[in-house]
Amino acid sequence: MGKSVLGVVALLALSVVSLFIGVIDLRPAALLQDPAALQLIAVSRAPRLFAVLITGASLAVAGTVLQMLVRNRFVEPMTVGSGEGAALGILLVTLCAPAATLFAKIAMASATAFASTAGFLVIARRLPPTQPYMVALVGLVYGGVIGAGVTFVAYQNDLLQMIGVWVTGEFSGVLQGRYETLWLAAIAAVLCFVAADQFSILGLGHAASINLGLNYRQVMLFGLLAVSLVSALTVVSVGIIPFVGLIVPNIVSRMMGDNLRRTLPVIALMGAGLVLVADIVARVLRYPFEMPSATVLGVVGAVVFIWLLYRPARHAP
């Protein structure tokens, strides 16, 4: 318990730090005297902070849920085609209905993300459970194929740059009025927490969960929907953020086991913290210029992932 209180305090402290980093110099004291300072917080800094926190927390939760659905620890939405699927949806909307509303874009992106995630589940189910890395490998190539399809269509229609801007994961474009749909992802994550016990049972496998009286198909469908929605919303709002959904669930599972009702809050907290740290680093590294947070996460995440792969196993996998 003490540890999680400490975690919340650390996250709050980082959040405050995040609010006062930026090109426009802002000191805490100014909040009391200067109305423009409050304006800055309300329009830019606070929305950005919320976007970062929601993205991190919901992606980490979605990663956990996906890992339960596939029963494999080495997958996450951004590596098995969900993220690329969402990008495909954005591309299709842009081509067919350039004037579509943001909501229509999100609906389309969610639908394509759902289809591609479902496609991956169908393939993954046929892979032998004895080879855990195979699922991850196939997922990466599957995502790569969808990504190549996106690149092909984008190239032919001269939309490569637009897609590049959409999928590069960064938060610099987040302003009041341009991120609020992300709260839907937060709601999806909360609903996952409500259904946490079901997912824990689902993780035991098809036969075991049916024996325990679980409505297997329904829970599976709900998980799939939640994962697709979170992926689509993050890609539409901030772009592809790698590794959060992969690394956080693994670390928490190692520390606390797989009782999702207990672990999901910790997972959400750590996910939010990880992306927040990456975002702060991305902003400070070459101040006043910004790096994409996704790039910072790509470096840190890859190193942690390789460590996860090669750490001495305590149990045989």
Partner: protein, 314 residues
Amino acid sequence: MHRRRLILLAVLFVASAVAYMTIGARGNWGFVLEFRGAKLVALCLVAVALSTSTVLFQTITQNRILTPSIMGFDELFVLIVAMGVFVFGMTDELVVTSWVQFVVSLVLMTGASLLLFGTLFLQERPDLMRMILTGLVLTVLFRSLRTLLVRMLDPNEFSVVQVSSYARFHQIETGLLAIAAGTIGAALIGAWAMRHRLDVLSLGREAAINLGEDVRSGTLQVLFLIGVLVSVATALVGPTAFLGLLVVSIAHVVTPTGRHAVLLVSAALISGTTLVGGQALLERVFGLVTPLTVVIDLAGGVLFLVLVMKGLKR
């Protein structure tokens, strides 16, 4: 063995080369031939380098679904180029055409790949899937590191690195052709000289040791050749993810054999036909702007998934 098929492949290759040189050509033939000839030579060099490096790689890993690209070899090369620009700075001339820079990158690349992948492959009991996954994550790592470095550069240097990080077959750096031809040629001679040892190495660690092969030195020599081939190909056209996998898989179907004397030749011919013919089709017939690599990535990725699924059924 397979002689008629090899001859057929050679005919196909020559036909696609002729198509590449002639389709849609207008005006001064002397100019057209010289201009397209240089590109054709570059395409052929890349094609052979990619097919040979993939065959070699599949031999030492004993796996038909691997290519050096999947393991991040070419991204490593681009990262090294980016690091060169970052550390020494280079604004006046293109990195990829300066041969000093090229040779330095080549040496660094082969060194790094020997260190990194040597330690991976020479484990007592290599876990194949874990190794591939490592390669894929390394690819992400190299790419992210490069992006980070690139963002630290000033815009001139930025564009230099940017040019070398995209696969491009329609505009090839022909300035490097002579040195590229020399290094690829030397590496190919090395691979050809090893062809019988490769046959033995492909049988697996235990069998190879029993047959009197020094697996350790063999693997390192092969890795060295792969490093050289991938560097030159990447310097010429940029990273190519699935081309090697695609052409070598086709080679295994057309000329099913364990003999590298046949396999190396057939893979090279198929690779040349795919690249030159594909480029001729895409560029001159269909007029598509999408680079051939994207199409090949799509086709190669799907093929990879099919191979995995088929392998499971067996």
